[in-house]
């Protein structure tokens, strides 16, 4: 194998580069990324960077010297626009064609948008560093913020905006924040925490419109007819895998790039991170994880499997792990925390906002959640015996 191309210049792409070099790959390595910045980390964007606690460069994943040591060609600010798996060529937006022997796809996600409102100034999504800095500037200028979508990202943005002293309303169709990710019981506790910090919650409500004047947003309207005045609106209603550039590639696509259990999508082609969908060997079903930890772990496995070849490739069977930081709460999950699971507190006290809860489906433990209990949660990892029972 002489030339490996990595498409995607974030955590998964960079980890793949690290792994390939560490495993002894000495051939040509090219990394393609549609943003201009050197690879940076995304979890701090909605927290430390948006809050202004970190200078933007602190989210950079590697120092320049470490990047140089990887001895790769960086094609930054350049989108991949197509893939030909028969001729093994990646096409770039500037017309260049990159031949490859091995390819790792790590193009991540694109934020989902509302069908209306995004043409107005003051309406934002947050995925990239540039979007974060633009949003931060807007937040500092306008006191009334409406966050649409109360998943991990929306809830974090609401908490950060409150930390900046802004007037924040958090809207979601679900009955509680993060209900889709951690169920309504823990979601209720998350809602309580936001209320304690004077965030206005509008749960169980659909957004019906975003109105503006002179090209700038003025309000968000809800399905009960209420109107939320807004200087800034953040849309955090989830993401879709960035696979549009692969539409004509012949690669199996669905909810992401459909890989086999070793993260392989086609001969010489692997995927890792948010964009990769694969049959989890223990869970017994296809999964796709939008978690920072997965970006690293899956890139290590995918890169290792690309080098070792299909006969030696190992299946990828991680225990999922995610976290969010809001106010003084660190909430971590391991395994699956489906909304239909039975939740049982096994350590600590929810009222004291320090506890561990187990998620059970059909009486088997499929996940665990720790609230300000990082160390205790780790000790419960071994209790996850029923991951195959999680739906």
């Amino acid at each position: 194998m002489d030339h490996i191309v990595l498409v995607g210049a974030s955590a998964a792409g960079l980890t793949a580069a690290d792994t390939l070099r560490r495993e002894g790959f000495t051939g040509t390595l090219t990394m393609v990324g549609d943003e201009l910045q050197l690879p940076y980390d995304r979890p701090p964007l909605s927290k430390q960077v948006l809050a202004g606690d970190w200078e933007p460069h602190r989210s950079t994943l590697r120092q320049d010297t470490d990047i140089q040591r990887l001895d790769m060609t960086l094609r930054l600010g350049c989108r991949a626009t197509g893939l030909d798996t028969a001729d093994r060529v990646v096409t770039l937006a500037d017309g260049d064609r990159l031949g490859y022997d091995g390819l790792i796809i790590a193009t991540g996600l694109r934020p989902r948008r509302l069908p209306f409102g995004h043409e107005l100034a003051g309406v934002h999504v947050l995925r990239t560093l540039d979007e974060t800095l633009t949003l931060r500037a807007q937040l500092l200028a306008g006191p009334r913020v409406v966050v649409i979508g109360a998943g991990f990202l929306g809830s974090e943005i609401a908490a950060t905006a409150r930390g900046l002293g802004l007037d924040v309303t958090l809207v979601d169709v679900e009955p509680a924040p993060m209900a889709r990710q951690v169920g309504t019981w823990v979601g209720g506790l998350v809602g309580d925490m936001h209320r304690d910090h004077c965030v206005r919650l509008r749960m169980g409500r659909h957004v019906t419109g975003v109105t503006g004047e002179n090209g700038r947003v003025t309000a968000v309207t809800l399905d009960d007819g209420s109107r939320l005045p807004a200087d800034v609106v953040v849309v955090a209603i989830g993401s879709v895998p960035a696979t549009d550039w692969l539409a004509a590639s012949g690669l199996p696509l669905g909810d992401g790039v459909l890989c086999d259990r070793t993260c392989r999508a086609a001969p010489g082609v692997y995927a890792a991170g948010d964009v990769a969908n694969w049959p989890h060997p223990v869970a017994g079903r296809r999964v796709r994880l939008e978690q920072r930890t997965n970006a690293t772990q899956q890139a290590i496995t995918a890169a290792g499997n690309l080098l070792s070849g299909p006969a030696e490739a190992v299946p990828y069977a991680p225990v999922p792990f995610g976290w969010t930081d809001q106010y003084d709460a660190k909430i971590q999950t391991c395994g699956w925390c489906p909304s239909d699971a039975t939740v049982e507190v096994v350590d600590g006290d929810p009222q004291a906002r320090k506890f561990v809860a187990l998620y059970k489906v059909d009486g088997r433990v499929v996940g665990a959640l720790g609230w300000n209990s990082a160390r205790a949660l780790r000790e419960y990892r071994g209790h996850l015996t029923g991951i195959d029972a999680a739906r």
Binding site: P43, T293, F321, W323, N372, A374, R375, R378
Partner: protein
Amino acid sequence: MKILIDEGKCVGAGTCVLAAADVFDQRDEDGIVVLLDADPPHTSLPQVRDAAARCPALAIEVVE
């Protein structure tokens, strides 16, 4: 081998402890990494490197 940790970046995922339990632990109160052995024996290098590679916050640096 020298290990440097950045507590300000650590997110308390505990990935390092799963990779190299002789070298890393977590604080009880907030899960932040605790370095048990800043200069571990050379035999633990593969595990320590793995811990650094898998850290989701890149809070561990290994100087060989």
